[in-house]
Symmetry: C2
Subunit: 235 residues, 2 copies
Amino acid sequence: MNTERHIASAFDRDLEGIQALVVKMGGLVEAALADAATALETRDEAMAERVRAQDGAIDALEVQVNDECLRLIATRAPAATDLRVVLTVMKIAASLERCGDYAKNLAKRSLVLNQMHVVEGATASIRRMARQVGLLLKDALDSFIHRDVELAASVRQQDRDVDHMYTALFREFLTHMMEDPRNITACMHLHFIAKNIERVGDHATTIAEQVIFLATGQMPSEPRPKADSVNMGKD
Amino acid sequence: MNTERHIASAFDRDLEGIQALVVKMGGLVEAALADAATALETRDEAMAERVRAQDGAIDALEVQVNDECLRLIATRAPAATDLRVVLTVMKIAASLERCGDYAKNLAKRSLVLNQMHVVEGATASIRRMARQVGLLLKDALDSFIHRDVELAASVRQQDRDVDHMYTALFREFLTHMMEDPRNITACMHLHFIAKNIERVGDHATTIAEQVIFLATGQMPSEPRPKADSVNMGKD
């Protein structure tokens, strides 16, 4: 066994350990998102509080991922390609941390919404959208772990469905607000929730694009299939 | 001149070059934000279009910063502390890229708002908030370049003012919507604009916290003085 080979496998072993942390983060974020959306629909305050309390675990994992990536770079001095993988891992961890914040924010807003006028049907739509985005995030992480470019490409496609769900909700909220001013404050919160869930989909897409970049050396050539329309409140 | 000394100054020289790019990015983001807010207030569509068109230059600078940071790590093999500085530079570039997106989004929404019912006084308030946040971002970058912990601490304090401005605007928009349903769609867009400007303030604060971390080795001990209230739509 020559030294180079030895160094390479030590790097791979370390990287696998870090990737396991990222997968763990992903699982926590998916659960937080699903639980927060369920808490909103069922008005389950205890569940919402648990989501809020558990966000610290996601944040702590991001710190751990960053620290272990730095140690990996310092001890293994990876070559350019491996270095890029390590930096992608850090970017993915940063995305997941942000998605965890969105789930926490959803949980916080659900507590506020419990005090307000009920907007018919809205929370069920939001739960469906959250489930869809959770699956998207899972696919994005799987595509990274298995370096599966095809799966990554499908994430970009699926994100379009999420954008459509968001746009439909935006229209629905506008209608509710115009019909009855008592809906206005609640709809502002619901709209933010929908927007933040849509942003989780954007993060999943960014992860998928990084997978494609790692595999092919360039960003996806055709522009992301984005159901874009600022009129509907898209960023 | 011994080798170690030589390597250290080569690292510093390379880092300075990269930091100059970050400062350039910061200047472009500040200008984009100020111009987009002015375009909104003065209904200047040509100016809004320029802001949209120039976002590509900000994105390109982020790619350049990332590439040069990777090359720096590969060629100089920086020690742990220097490595952390390089990674902070990359995080700051990522923040600035995101802030550029917010400015571009503001410009896009200003074009949409030009087609709508005018909401009295709102755009002037937003321009003031954008100016305040632009100064905050400048202070945050200055604190990084000069490793000025005191200035970084003041950024965290000033961000509280921005949060208050956002909360006041949120209340104002609710009132406008309840008074006249014709204001609802415009206020949804204005609210998003205000929220995104507030997020630029959060990015400035994150940069300031990284400066404090670099200087002291730990994140600011007391929690960020955040005028938090989910009731007002805070994330």
